[in-house]
Structure formats: structure tokens, C-alpha cells
Symmetry: C2
Subunit: 344 residues, 2 copies
């Protein structure tokens, strides 16, 4: 029973000695160079196995100028969307042989994003993924902070030529509003997410565009902060204002949940008195009272696609600039929270 030290104190030379070859050959095997006979290759691999050799990443990246890790700057990991993206990015990265360094920023502001980037730069990553849908981010600023390190923006829409992947939030918004219009609604109130968020802004624009196109204007537009609590509070305000409405569109499913409860407390029936619509399709929304009609977004695909885009840039820097902005389309999921307005 050997003491089995995993502190990685075993070097390439130990492997070489054990296999009876030179360290050069070991290096060739590890990096899959040509000109290694299958038999010696086998010997080396066995030595690596029995010695539990792990190449020293620091030494390696010192000479290769690559760390083999990608950096994610993410906001709101406790929200459904960002968490989904991060998980899927990480999984895809491992499959491609990369590790992931994460920093989550406590507040969605340009300053925090920059801080996040600087932190990750210290860890010397090979590429950045920014899951930070702040409206009006200064792309130039980010580009200069990233320097020669490629980066990808997720969920940012003003991708001024920067490689990026997006879900078309605006068409998602349109989808939602159109659904209500098709049902015959004319008095629609909007509860948006924080307008500093790109997503929130675009969803609102989508809602508005569909309404305008049909010749209507929203009876009320209020801004929340994605939380159920804000959806609850804003709906209370809306009810107190006595503005009549037959449908309520929320910026995300959590806000819709808060709205549902506020309506319930006032004795307003959903959907017979008021239809409610969410956004995201979190797993729970199917079990809201009533089950929520909402717009589904494929965050997993978004994460995976972004990673693919980033790695293209990392591994073949030449074409980095030519990367297209990819766009995913959301999908309407109709459940019991929406119906035609009551005839008056």
C-alpha cells in the first residue's frame, strides 16, 4: 500500500524513467505528436497510469501561453436562465477539454462587469463568456478589457459586430402579445422587468410592437425587478389605480406568480376575469394557480452555442472577427392562465 501522494509531485521525468524512455518521448505521447512507435507509446501510457501522473498545468501554460480554462462572468446565478446557461456552458466546455472559472457579479452594472473581467484576467483564461444582459454595455470598453482574449456576449442584443448569441426576446414579446390579441383582448397591462436589462427592454418592445401593430396601446406599463414580490406589488398598484384591464403580461414567470397572488387576494379570477402571461417557462410555472401560459426560452441551447462560438475564436484566432451573431427563437406555451376576455 503505497502512500499515494496526489500532490502531483511526479513529473514527466519520473514517467520517463519508469517507462525507460526519455522525457522527450513522454512529451510526444502526451501531446500526440507523430513519430512514436505504438509499443513505446503503450509503455509510456502505462507508466502514466501507474504513477498517476498529472501534467503540471502551470508549467504547461507557462510555455504554451494557454491555460485551458474559460472564464464566465455571470449575473444572477440564482435565476433560472443564467443558471441554465452556466451549467450548459460548463458541461460543453469540459467535453471540449476546457475548465471553467466563474465569477458572479452581485449587481448588474458596467462597473461590476469590468471588475468581473479583471478578476478573471488574473486567472488568465483563454476566453470570456459574458452572461450579463445589461443594456447599453460599452462593447468597445469590454473589447479593450479583454484585450487579445476572445469573448462572447450572451443575451446582449446590441452586438455591434461582436461575436454573440442571443435569444430573440423581441419576437418572444410579440408572440405573447399576439396570443392575447388573438384571444380578443384589448385592455392589456404590462409588467416589465428592469429596463436596465436588455431582455426586459426587448420583451417590452415586442409587446408594444404587437399592440401598436394591432392599433392598441397598453393600458398601463409598470417596471419591476424580476422578483415575485415586485410582480405582487405592481399588480396591487395596478388594481388600486382602477384602470380596467383584461390581460396582464409579466416580464418573467416569477413576476407572473406574484401577480397571480395579488389578483387572487382581490378576488379577481384568472383567467376568466384577467388573463396572465409569463416569460421563461420555469419548471414550476406548470403548477401555478392556474398553470401559466408563458414563452419558453432554450437557455441550454444558448449556452452550448455560445461556447461553440467562443471556442472557434479561441482555437482559430484568425476568423474570430468574422463570427456571426446567432439568434434563437422562443416559443409560446399555452396553458390555463389565458383565455378570451369576458363579453361586456
Amino acid at each position: 500500500m503505497p502512500p499515494f501522494v496526489s500532490g502531483s509531485r511526479v513529473t514527466i521525468h519520473d514517467v520517463a524513467r519508469h517507462a525507460g524512455v526519455s522525457h522527450q518521448t513522454v512529451s510526444r505521447v502526451i501531446n500526440e505528436h507523430l513519430s512514436v512507435a505504438p509499443s513505446t507509446r503503450q509503455k509510456v501510457l502505462e507508466a502514466i497510469e501507474t504513477l498517476k501522473y498529472q501534467p503540471n498545468q502551470a508549467a504547461r501554460s507557462l510555455v504554451t501561453q494557454r491555460s485551458g480554462t474559460l472564464g464566465i462572468v455571470s449575473f444572477g446565478l440564482t435565476y433560472y436562465g443564467p443558471a441554465q446557461m452556466v451549467v450548459n456552458i460548463e458541461r460543453a466546455a469540459r467535453l471540449r477539454g476546457y475548465g471553467v472559472a466563474l465569477t458572479s457579479i452581485p449587481e448588474l452594472s458596467e462597473g461590476e462587469i469590468e471588475r468581473g473581467l479583471l478578476e478573471l484576467r488574473k486567472q488568465s483564461v483563454d476566453g470570456f463568456l459574458l452572461v450579463a444582459p445589461l443594456r447599453g454595455v460599452n462593447t468597445e470598453r469590454i473589447r479593450s478589457l479583454c484585450g487579445h482574449t476572445p469573448f462572447v456576449l450572451l443575451d446582449a442584443a446590441e452586438t455591434g459586430g461582436t461575436p454573440g448569441v442571443t435569444i430573440d426576446q423581441m419576437s418572444g414579446g410579440r408572440l405573447a402579445a399576439q396570443h392575447l390579441l388573438d384571444l380578443g383582448h384589448e385592455h392589456i397591462a404590462l409588467l416589465s422587468g428592469p429596463q436596465r436589462w436588455h431582455d426586459a427592454r426587448l420583451r417590452l418592445e415586442g409587446w408594444r410592437a404587437a399592440l401598436t401593430h394591432a392599433g392598441y396601446t397598453p393600458v398601463s406599463v409598470l417596471e419591476g425587478d424580476w422578483t415575485a414580490a415586485s410582480g405582487f406589488g405592481l399588480t396591487q398598484e395596478l388594481l388600486a389605480s382602477r384602470i380596467p384591464f383584461t390581460a396582464l403580461v409579466a416580464g418573467n414567470d416569477q413576476m407572473a406568480l406574484g401577480a397571480l397572488w395579488a389578483l387572487h387576494e382581490r378576488g379577481v379570477a384568472v383567467p376568466s376575469d384577467v388573463s396572465v402571461l409569463g416569460f421563461d417557462d420555469i419548471p414550476e410555472s406548470r403548477f401555478f394557480h392556474p398553470p401559466l401560459t408563458t414563452v419558453r426560452q432554450d437557455f441550454a441551447a444558448l449556452g452550448a452555442l455560445s461556447l461553440a462560438a467562443l471556442l472557434e475564436a479561441v482555437e482559430s484566432p484568425r476568423e474570430a472577427q468574422a463570427l456571426p451573431t446567432r439568434v434563437l427563437l422562443p416559443e409560446l406555451v399555452v396553458r390555463a392562465s389565458t383565455t378570451s376576455p369576458r363579453r361586456t
Copy 2:
């Protein structure tokens, strides 16, 4: 407008030349060694600033044998608890000057945990945090995989002498059951989380212990998988079985949500016909129909405490073995979903 290369091609020697000192002095400043006059120190700092010098982490850790990053192996980042922990660990780590490498495992099994550890070892982290509440993890196996690298288990209860931080799930379970007993309930059904999870097991044990102590047994015990869908399905089963019950305890808030909807569909009123109790206190549970009585856990504190424990081990390896297992207590939050059973 200088081309501003951030590829970190500027070395310690460039800084030295710019500041008119030796590379030795620059190193002394960076590592806060003594014997540097304030004036020269200032000069060096200025040179670092204007050259935008960033020490090369690879070179640094090659000699210091430290990477300055900690590894997190986490399961279920899309769940509220784990996400909270990861975010808080990361934040605390940055404050202490550490970066974070993350790997989330797709499935909660011992094999996956090991894979996660191996992946992180490649990134040569200084310490591990395992957010993986698998029941019966082989601590010895993990210890050997970690080798000389210190590690901390979050949420694992069989911390056989390993440094760990836990929330006392069992007393949380007792809290919940006792609340129902105090209200006068005698026919209580239990909807547990997956029993491979430590948390789920301990909560169930807590519920049972409290009931047993009061002279009762649960009328039914069903096992779900944390999702609202499972809470829904199990509650349907329970109702179909026609076993009478006046209270339902769920393994977490999501399962409670599913249960609420299943009860509602059958015309069972909450809380007047059946009381429902959750676990976790996710932000949304306040807006369930009705607002959910649940057991709050301070995941943020758990994350921060674990990090502190780990860093103690990382920075002063001597006392690593002597680290105590810290335990946090959960708290009951009473809302509208529980009340006394109807007199029959």
C-alpha cells in the same frame, strides 16, 4: 491611442526598467516584502499602473506551488440551494483573493463526484468544495482523490472527522412536524425528496422522529425527486389511495407547489381541508396559493462558512485535521398554508 495589448506580454522586467529599479525590487513590492522604501515602492506601483502589468499566474504558481483558485464540485446549480451556496462561496473567495473553478455534475452519483474532482485536479486548485449531498459518500475515497489538497464537504452529514459545514436538516424536519402536531394534526402524509440525497433522508428522519415522539406514525410516505412535477404526481396518488390525511409535508418548496396544485384540482382546500408544509423558503413560496409555511435555510451563511473553513485548511495546513464540523440551524416560517385541522 496606443494599441493597448492586454495579452499580458509585459513582464516584471519591463516594470523594473520603467521604474528604474531591479526586478527583485518589483517582486518585493508585489509580494509585500519588507525592506522597500516608500518612495521606491510608489515608483514601482506607478510603473505597474501605467504599463498595466499583470503578473503571469502560470509562472507564479509554477514556483509557489499554488494556483490561487479553489474548485467547486456542485450538483444541481439550477436548484435554489446549491446556486445560493455557489454564489456565496465565490463572493467570499474573491474577497480573500482566490478565484473559483466550477464543475457541476449532471447526476448525483459517486462516480460523477469523482469525475468532477479529477477535472478540477487538472486545473490544479488549492482546495475543493463539494456541494454534493449524496448519502453514504465514501469519505475515504474522496480523501484519497483529493490527496494533499484540502477539501470541505457542504451538506454532508456523515462527516466522519472531515472538515465540513452542515445545516441540521433533521432538526428542520422536527421543526416542521412539531408545528403540525402543535396545531393538532394527527393524520400526516410525507412527501420526501429522493432518499439518495442526504438532505432528503435527514428531513424525513426529522419528521418521523417528531411524529414518533408524539405517538403517531405518518399515514403515508412517498418519495419524489424535488421537482414540482413529482410533488404533483405523488399527491395525486395519495388522493387516489383514499387514505385520509389532514396535513402534507413536502421535501422542498417546489414539491409543495406541485402538491398544492394537485389538491386544488381535486377541490381540496388549503389549509382548511389539508395543511401543506414546504422546505427551503425559496423567494417564490411567499406567493404560492396560499403562501407557504416552510423551513428556511441559510444557504448563504453555509457557503461563506464553508469557504472560511477551507481557507483555514489551505493557508495553515497543520491544523487542517482539527477543523470542527460546523452546524447551522434552520428556522420555521409560518404562513397561510397551515392551520388547525377541522373538527370532525
